[in-house]
């Protein structure tokens, strides 16, 4: 495995936390990014260290250019070689009622944040002739969901961003993919209509670990010929 570290944004809970644990289990030193939940991030770091892995928590808002620059700095662990863009938020509302701030904030964190981290991660990956980038999108980026125009646009954006960057850098051993989770038990899906599970062929919501396992594969050396694709993880919801 090349020398470097894995950065997971928004890793203090949910899919991000599960992904940090998964990448550590696969042998990567992990930079566990958080914006507000320092305690959550430290718990994940402690869990990784207890399992014999290496990790540290790093605060940073992906909506801030300056924070992203610091977040992607090389450390004692070497350069960033795995980047998982997971930081995200939703501010739902029917389109006629979405104000500019709700629109802009979601786009800025979910889409612009992913672009900023990718832009900063690519130079060291190009030098290393190795890199794994995974954007955590959503099935909402592939199909409609009323009340989430901003979120859906941001997630469709990160899917397209991943595909485009994938073809730009494929010849340097860097892969760029997305995962599109369906309904997963996380804080982001709290408060959503429980009857939605009835519409899922698997008849249950997913677990963060089930998404993290897919991200772990896409970030692995074995997945070296998988790039520019989107892996849906949704219990068959969009099948």
């Amino acid at each position: 495995m090349p020398e470097g570290y894995a950065l997971v944004t928004g890793a203090s809970r949910g899919i991000g936390a599960a992904t940090a644990l998964e990448l550590a289990r696969r042998g990567w030193p992990v930079r566990v990014n958080y914006r507000e939940d320092e305690e959550g991030a430290r718990e994940i770091v402690a869990q990784i260290e207890a399992d014999g892995g290496s990790a540290h928590a790093r605060r940073g808002d992906v909506a801030s250019v300056e924070d992203v620059r610091e977040l992607l700095e090389p450390g004692e662990l070497g350069p960033v070689l795995v980047l998982v863009n997971n930081a995200g938020l939703r501010l739902d509302g029917l389109s006629p009622q979405l104000d500019d701030e709700q629109w802009q904030r979601v786009i800025d964190v979910n889409l612009n944040g992913a672009f900023r981290t990718i832009r900063a991660a690519l130079p060291p990956m190009l030098r290393a002739r190795f890199g794994r980038i995974v954007n955590v999108a959503s099935i909402v980026g592939l199909r409609a969901n009323a009340g989430q125009a901003n979120y859906a646009a941001s997630k469709a954006g990160v899917i397209s961003l991943a595909r485009t960057v994938a073809v730009e850098v494929a010849r340097r051993g860097i892969t760029v993919n997305s995962v599109a989770p369906g309904l997963i038990e996380t804080r982001l899906t709290e408060g959503l209509d429980g009857s939605l599970a009835d519409a899922i062929p698997a008849r249950r919501v997913g677990r963060p670990e089930e998404v993290a396992a897919c991200i772990g594969f896409l970030a692995s050396e074995e997945a070296s010929y998988v790039t520019g694709t989107t892996l849906t993880v949704d219990g068959g919801l969009s099948a």
């Binding site: 690519l122 130079p123 190009l126 730009e168 850098v169 010849r171 340097r172």
Partner: protein, 82 residues
């Protein structure tokens, strides 16, 4: 922050950078076209990073899009460093 640099320094750095990117030193000259020595657009991105690290000169995509030869890269960096 750009610092004053000599053309010889830049040439040395660009040549070293191109060798690091896989170009044979024997085929390097200021007259060599980037195409003839197999320097592609991603190589230029990496070269730009090396130049920025070394001289503090930022080369954007627009700056290098019309550059054809190694000498033109060197001249561009020197001009931007001034």
């Amino acid at each position: 922050m750009a610092t004053k640099v000599s053309e010889e320094q830049v040439e040395q750095q660009i040549f070293d950078g191109l060798v690091e990117l896989g170009t044979e030193r024997a085929v390097l000259s200021r007259e060599a076209t980037l195409e003839s020595i197999d320097v592609d657009s991603l190589d230029l991105v990496e070269l730009a990073q090396i130049v920025e690290d070394e001289f503090g000169v930022e080369l954007r995509g627009d700056d290098v899009k019309d550059v054809r030869t190694v000498g033109e890269v060197i001249e561009l960096v020197v001009a931007k460093a001034e």
